[in-house]
């Protein structure tokens, strides 16, 4: 029986290595299928950036028994919704369907897992290369401050580090991908042994196991060759770049190497972010926006990757305000936090926010299924809801201050985006 942070899960592995996690939960007559392939842009090499994301696009172009454009159409016709996403560390594909269409979803996912190469063509590849280049131009090149994250990660991580290049890739790399590279990428990374299948929702367990066996068990697997090893990154000195962009207001970004996902300091960095910038009375926002009135906004964000983490601080300056002044105040506030501590109210507010956000996410089967996959792939324990919540609930003020001392007093990266 499931409770709100302890779900009923059936976890097993097929002979071909595919991990399966079933989460029966019948609050709505829906099912959500969520597959993680343990490959992302972190697996790419210099000169071949963007392949993982391009490949995600290719996975919607049809497979042996599913004509081009029909993957989407079949799901929509059944009343479902679907999408995929690529990050540094993984690629996921998901659909939510009326529960009577579960077999359709499994058929589609297994066909492209097992038989994608059979219908890979140059036309499809050329088409999706164009689509991805449009995506890059639309979302990054043609947006104010659109290149900020690319530059920041490029400054934070050395060129051979998995996180140096953006997941979308560089246009000059995307343009050059050929069929052989796409095919090899599939063979290397898209196999059952490198993936994890979660189903959440209203389904019969035995029937579903049979369907999974029918569709996925016959798919051959390959072992994944490369292993990425974690490398701690230490900046020997501060790094700085001023980049001119088509913007009207100057914007400051600071990046500090911090804790990776599920590291003992990861939750503390999240809470630190809340204390610094989550609401009107948060340290940075209150000081910079209300008291000094020198920014339009101020944000902090703990990026927690599988291999490394980064704590970001950003602020958009009002006209005629010096970014140097803003930066000085940011460091003043960090120092105050470290020296004077934080209040009980601040930490409780942050914890309550996180706990209620978790509760709100349970409305949605797709969100639950994705959590299960995240826990499985990063912790090898799909039922880690309680563990994850307790990471936050059990934090002390001292641990948060220690995280600030450990990460926000070291060398950092500074990017200024200024008008052309």
């Amino acid at each position: 029986m499931s409770s709100l942070n302890n779900f009923e899960l059936i976890h097993y592995k097929l002979e071909n290595g595919l991990e399966v996690i079933l989460n029966p939960y019948n609050k709505s007559p829906l099912v959500s299928i969520n597959i993680w392939y343990k490959v992302g842009s972190a697996n790419e090499v210099v000169g071949k950036t963007g392949l993982a994301h391009l490949f995600e696009h290719m996975m919607f172009q049809g497979s042996l028994n599913v004509p081009k454009e029909m993957h989407f159409k079949y799901i929509q016709e059944a009343g479902g919704s679907l999408n995929g996403s690529t990050s540094f560390d993984r690629t996921n594909y998901y659909e939510t369907l009326p529960s009577n269409a579960l077999e359709l979803g499994l058929w589609l996912e297994s066909d492209r897992m097992g038989f994608f190469l059979d219908t890979l063509t140059q036309d499809k590849l050329d088409n999706q290369k164009d689509v991805v280049m449009n995506e890059r131009r639309q979302n990054y090149d043609n947006q104010p401050y659109g290149l900020a994250w690319e530059k920041l990660f490029g400054m934070l991580f050395p060129i051979n580090h998995p996180y140096h290049f953006p997941t979308i890739g560089l246009i000059e790399d995307i343009e050059k991908f050929d069929l052989g590279e796409v095919s090899n990428f599939f063979k290397k990374y898209y196999s059952p042994a490198n993936s994890s299948l979660v189903i959440t929702g209203d389904f019969d367990i035995d029937e579903t196991k049979q369907l999974i066996d029918k569709y996925f068990a016959p798919i051959q697997t390959q072992l994944v060759a490369d292993v990425i090893t974690k490398q701690a990154i230490v900046l020997s000195e501060n790094k700085f770049e001023a980049y001119k962009d088509n913007v009207q207001l100057e914007k400051l970004y600071l990046g500090f190497h911090s804790a990776e996902l599920f590291h003992k300091d990861d939750a503390a960095c999240d809470i630190l972010s809340y204390i610094l910038s989550s609401n009107k009375s948060s340290r940075l926002y209150k000081r910079l926006f209300f008291e000094e009135q020198i920014v339009l906004d101020a944000h902090t964000y703990q990026f927690s990757g599988k291999y490394n983490g980064v704590f970001f601080i950003s602020a958009t300056a009002k006209p005629n305000i010096s970014l140097g002044d803003i930066k000085a105040i940011i460091f003043e506030e960090i120092e105050k936090l470290i020296n004077n501590g934080i209040s009980d109210e601040e930490i409780e507010r942050a914890k309550n926010s996180i706990i209620s956000n978790y509760l709100y996410s349970l409305q949605n089967f797709s969100s639950i299924a994705n959590y299960i996959n995240m826990y499985n792939c990063y912790l090898n324990k799909p039922n880690s809801f309680e563990y994850d919540l307790n990471r936050y609930k059990n934090l002390t003020k001292e641990q948060i201050i220690d995280a600030a001392k450990k990460y926000l007093t070291k060398n950092y990266v500074e990017l200024q985006i200024i008008p052309k």
Partner: protein, 442 residues
């Protein structure tokens, strides 16, 4: 080697059933309409409070005053200053968002059941007793002006506001919801306070609540909060609209690698049964991934990351628009293909396409009512457009009843190619790629 069974697409299991929730309508003591649905699976409550005080009620020349007023409401209210309000919401884990559109200011509240009462108390103070202090007014006024400076490089925002300007010229909808820097500059504190006093009242509110909260408790709570709040005499503002003519405008954005394209025209407000024909038209033309526009411009030609169309319904008018972003060199080829799709739609629309669209719209009802937030948003439609309470239960029937002939007739009535306005946001060099007459918008 593949298995033969994979060649056959599996069918859906029969005997699938789902319940479409019907809200209960309760008229509170002072005639405020409440739509309510009890749900117990999770200890949370989704609430919308909708106030008919949107941007169409901006004072003449003071465009942006409705939005600025909405921004100011939670900068101190009742017994609490802005920080205290925010801290209290965060402590409870309550999400409050206040948004202004043309018609309304919408208070969107997601709370746990445990903190529902206190959350509602605070929101009611925000609505009924905002401080509207002059120092907060000055600060928020500067904030929105600075924000508009920031947006002036955002191609999506620019295309939206310029498109709006040409489509709704000389009407209440012409100016952006956030206003213009020059109009916000002229807004005085006393004018904003008067705007608040003259527009916010109990008879301008509608409420939707979905979640784990007892009905009688909720009714008592809302009555206690609102039944002694003022009502106001209010005259709805008339809107007049000009007919548009087929024109292409360019807003120059130097060195833009992409051209943002937005085109469309004014149509009719939401009336039934025409609404269902419009919904089917949109689904087939550009309203989902497998639509004609997306299949052509993205999947066949690779011109774009995505293109979509929509019909929007405001209380006294409607709008049809198509949006996309393309590589600048493909700007006019993309436009040509968009027009190709617009022209051919009534000529070769197939029964198969209509069947797919009907199936898609009807079968996605279950996933569109999965969360409390989704259910509550659907109920807002019922409330805003005075639909029958069981509208969503009849939706499948309404959609299925639309014939091929009705779709064509509605399309030909509404989509007049000689009235389409096109706004491009991109590099000026694209004007040399066409012999079309391009009017400059900046």
């Amino acid at each position: 080697m593949t298995q033969e069974f994979r060649k056959i697409k599996p069918s859906e299991k029969e005997n699938y059933s789902f319940n479409i929730p019907i809200p209960e309508q309760i008229i509170l003591d002072n005639n405020i309409s409440l739509l309510y649905l009890y749900r117990e699976e999770l200890p949370i409550v989704k609430t919308y409070i909708v106030s008919s005080t949107g941007a169409k009620y901006d004072l003449h020349g003071k465009y942006g005053i409705a939005n600025l007023t909405a921004m100011l409401l939670d900068e101190g209210a009742g017994k609490f200053n802005a920080f205290e309000l925010d801290d209290r919401f965060e402590s409870m884990g309550t999400h409050l968002e206040i948004g202004c559109d043309f018609n309304s200011v919408v208070f969107s509240i997601l709370s746990t059941s445990e903190y529902f009462d206190e959350s509602l108390d605070l929101v009611s103070q925000i609505i009924k007793e905002p401080h509207l202090k002059i120092e907060d007014f000055e600060r928020e006024k500067e904030k929105i002006k600075t924000r508009l400076i920031e947006y002036s490089d955002d191609p999506g925002y620019i295309s939206d506001i310029h498109f709006q300007k040409y489509i709704f010229e000389n009407s209440n909808y012409e100016k952006p919801i956030a206003g213009l820097i020059e109009t916000i500059e002229t807004i005085q504190h006393n004018e904003l306070v008067n705007f608040y006093n003259n527009n916010y009242a109990s008879n301008r509110l509608k409420i939707v609540v979905v979640g784990n909260i007892d009905r009688n408790h909720l009714i008592n709570k809302l009555n206690n909060i609102f039944n002694s709040w003022k009502t106001i005499n209010f005259e709805e503002r008339e809107s007049n609209f000009n007919r548009t003519e087929n024109k292409i405008y360019l807003y120059k954005k130097a060195d833009a690698p992409q051209t943002e394209i937005k085109l469309g025209l004014r149509t009719t407000k939401r009336i039934q049964p025409e609404f269902f024909a419009k919904t089917l038209i949109n689904t087939i033309l550009g309203g989902q991934f497998s639509s004609r526009l997306n299949s052509n411009l993205r999947e066949k030609r690779g011109y774009t990351y995505g293109i979509h169309s929509s019909f929007q319904h405001l209380t006294d008018t409607g709008l049809f628009s198509i949006n996309t972003s393309v590589k600048k060199e493909n700007t006019f080829d993309a436009l040509e293909q968009i027009y190709y799709e617009l022209e051919r739609f009534p000529k070769d629309l197939t029964m198969e396409e209509i069947a797919f669209a009907k199936t898609y719209l009807i079968r996605k009802l279950p996933i569109s009512i999965e969360t409390y937030s989704q259910i509550a948003r659907n109920f807002i439609n019922i409330s805003q457009f005075n639909l029958e309470l069981d509208y969503y239960n009849k939706y499948a029937h309404f959609i299925n009843s639309v014939s091929h002939e009705e779709i064509i007739a509605t399309y030909e009535k509404l989509i007049k190619l000689d009235e389409i306005i096109t706004v491009l946001v991109g590099d000026e060099s694209i004007t040399s790629m066409t012999d079309k007459n391009i009017l400059l918008s900046n």
